[in-house]
Symmetry: C2
Amino acid sequence: MEIRVVRNVLEKNKKLADTVRERLHGRCTTMFNFMSSPGSGKTTLFQRLVPALLERGLRIGIIEGDVTTAIDAERLNHLGVPISLINTEKFGGTCHLAANVVLGALETLDDTPLDMILIENVGNLICPGEYDTGADGSVVLLSVTEGEDKPLKYPAIFRKTEASIISKIDVAGVLECNVSLLRENILRANPAHVIFEASGKTGAGVTELADWLVQRHQTSLASRSGAAR
Amino acid sequence: MEIRVVRNVLEKNKKLADTVRERLHGRCTTMFNFMSSPGSGKTTLFQRLVPALLERGLRIGIIEGDVTTAIDAERLNHLGVPISLINTEKFGGTCHLAANVVLGALETLDDTPLDMILIENVGNLICPGEYDTGADGSVVLLSVTEGEDKPLKYPAIFRKTEASIISKIDVAGVLECNVSLLRENILRANPAHVIFEASGKTGAGVTELADWLVQRHQTSLASRSGAAR
């Protein structure tokens, strides 16, 4: 019964995600959805990643998802890019961003032409993976502090994303994280995953990640024009 | 509409949590619910905490909640206490333990008389706090790696628990965690919180936590007999 309710919610969400996709297609904007546990370092990484994407000539916008507070949005404010903050407490305190709230966020970003929108999803390694946001691609962050077993314990989010960012790589040694084992476990959950090792603190891996996002931006735009033919 | 569905689910859950409480009362067993983000160190802490509670003469059982896999249950197996593993993927992959699954887990622990049951909830800092499990008390773990702002960003789970465990305290220095600020933020979310600083790796803080749990066990039993008078 409860499962049926969830299924209906997910089906409705999928339709709204299609609407999100149509809007983005109309504007030649791509969107990438970043998900992780609380405290995996999404905001700190964005502080490095956004300037790297701006340097590569992309006009960037951010959709910032949080249950409550503007803490993360304020931390990103100095980047000078448009940020649409979603507090899910207004939508029943949901633990993920659903397509309807992303659609609302897109409207607040309407004034500025953007090449790429980055979504910082609500900190949660389970439900955000279940909800199609309408993004062109999804990425999961996993910090070296969280333990090598997490891709096995939370496999769904790895199956529904295309890349992993092993974050806080600068403290892997001190935290005694076995990065090879973590990589193995990511690939056990999803053999097709592209894996980055990065640190928002030191900037390690940000160049590679930014280059990959530019490439994904281009392939997404190309596949759209292909689909339109 | 979606919010109303959630409200109904929570009301039904509350009734089942009352049933859980009745069962525990009938057996003079107390139950404590441990919640946190993935990778905050719940399992590692249990590996230290359970022996400390056994030393204090309590017969301990564990309810181990995970979306999938038996990884955590296997890590605790050597403790020699009864463990009831719940994989929520059988219940629609829920991101929390609801009272109905806790009730089922209690049945599998029926064979052994227990003084205290520890619940290791699914790794998630949002939804587990919304679902009454029927436990006598609830505790939130927060590792020093997650950032000092988390009690402000996820206040609901702090409001619905009575104690915080600042975990991985042994790496606070290396991770540049401002523990005073973290404590302040916990108390901003819930001024009544009891705060422990602990490390499952070094064993720091485990004595204090075990002593507190023994005391909470005794006050819970006393309040039950008071209520029965």
